[in-house]
Amino acid sequence: MDNLMSVSNLKKSFKDNIVLKGISFEIRRGEVLCFLGPNGAGKSTTINILTAVLGSDEGEICFKGDKISKKLRNYKQSIGIVPQDIALYEELSAERNLRFFASLYGLYGTRLDDAVEEALIFAGLQDRRKDKVKTFSGGMKRRLNIACAIAHHPELVIMDEPTVGIDPQSRNHILASIKKLQNQGMTVIYTTHYMEEVEVISSRIIIMDHGTILAEGTKESLKEDIQNEKRYIIEVEENGTIGHDEFFAVEGVKSVKIDGNTFEITSLKGIENLDRIISLLSDHGEKIRNITSEAASLETVFLKLTGRKLRD
């Protein structure tokens, strides 16, 4: 896949708050690039800069080899944006919304009619085309919000948490639609808090925190890094005197996190040491309430990189 877009050394501060600390990445044609990160990671700022609504302090963004600042109009014509909030005219019908927003991209006549029809089918709202948006459910609004961004057939679609606060049925519809867009050749940038969405749709993932990129790659390659590890989460009745060092005495233990009555122990795969960990706890008089063993997942990758869960 060739590069559609490249971002280099992007920096942004709001007064004394440094939000982006010089991030660089590339977007390949036809991929679904997912941005993962907790609140305050810098995802939305990155997206806002990519949409050309917000300027950066430093850095360069090139779209198809040209700086976007030099060919801004062409760039805007080539992208579709799904903002986090529902950006629709509530008093207008679904069709009128689509017609208006698509016409801003230079569509008119039969091209506009066809684009609106296609977008209505995409959103599954053909039967509700004449209804005012204010009568729609949250899921329907979200679907229309996406349809308004893709009606003009952009090359790149930027979606900022498009599934926030919707029912599972609508979420599945949206995720399937994104796959469909990818199959049609569109490139998608997608930010989310939902790990399971990333598992389903991502071609590549960028994990961000505190304005920097912590990791980048396919879900398989990211998981591979921790493939040789396993994680035990052990809950005890009451944590007494046991400390980190005693766990490190057990062969294979790589890291230990003690949070109240819960121990999170990362150990090398291939070394069977659970019985010894249990013995250690028993020797210290701990009563085990629950033991969980976790295989490598994006959640564990994220946890390893950031030291916290995505929704913390």
Partner: protein
């Protein structure tokens, strides 16, 4: 240009779909004229004179309040979100603020003209021997007010702050300009303050036009309001920031 017209039509129709704005510029303004004209009838030579005074002065007040219609059209919470999509589009920033300015101008101009067309025959109010001059002079004032509303939004980046500032400023200027009651004979301080209020000169222009058929102030006011409109529009270009919509 096609994109600008599309946005303008959308902004214009959105204003007419807002019952509060339509009501404020028609029913409320009409009732205010009727009530104040009726209540203050005794203070004037006859009730017709009171209606004449309040129709002209409150239409001026309404024109200036057009600034708030513009700020509402530009940054009102629900519209602001949809406007974000216009910012995203290739239409560009100028189309965003200028279409709102133009839409607010036409909206206010049409409604205020309509109000005069209905009230003048009913209340025997004169707009001068040739009412066209009166209606014509309204245009740059309406536009300057709309430009002022958008300019304040661009500077303060917030509809609530803009509305508060504008309503205070307009009410104060109108009070000093003698819109609600004449301040003549209320002491030298108020007399001086009256003179520096631009509303006083607007009143002079519209009253001399409607009552005396005198065009003495027509061109000065027409040109001043037009120049102000151009300056405020240029100022919007200077202060408009797309990130205010995020």
């Amino acid at each position: 240009m096609r994109r600008f017209i599309t946005i303008f039509i959308m902004d214009f129709s959105n204003l007419f779909k807002n019952p509060v704005l339509v009501g404020y510029n028609t029913v409320f303004a009409g009732l205010l004229i009727l009530i104040l004209g009726y209540l203050c009838g005794g203070d004037y030579a006859d009730s017709n004179t009171a209606y004449q005074y309040y129709t002209v002065s409150l239409v001026i007040y309404g024109m200036l309040n057009g600034a708030m219609t513009a700020s509402n059209c530009f940054m009102e919470r629900d519209i602001k979100r949809a406007n974000l999509r216009i910012i995203y589009s290739p239409a560009g920033g100028f189309s965003v603020y200028f279409s709102k300015m133009a839409a607010s101008f036409f909206f206010n101009y049409i409604l205020h003209t309509l109000l005069l067309v209905i009230l003048c025959p009913l209340l025997h109010v004169s707009l001068g021997s040739n009412p066209v001059f009166f209606i014509l002079l309204m245009a740059p004032v309406e536009f300057a007010a709309a430009a002022l509303g958008i300019f304040f939004c661009c500077v303060f980046h917030c509809e609530e702050t803009t509305s508060t500032l504008l309503s205070t400023m307009i009410s104060l200027l109108c009070f000093l300009g003698g819109t609600f009651f004449s301040l003549d004979g209320m002491g030298s301080v108020l007399a001086f303050a009256t003179k520096i209020s631009p509303v006083k000169w607007l009143n002079e222009a519209f009253f001399t036009l409607s009552c005396d058929n005198n065009l003495q102030y027509f061109w000065p006011v027409f040109i001043s309001a037009s120049v102000l409109s151009v300056l405020l529009t240029l100022g919007c270009g200077l202060f408009f920031r797309t990130e205010d919509y995020i």
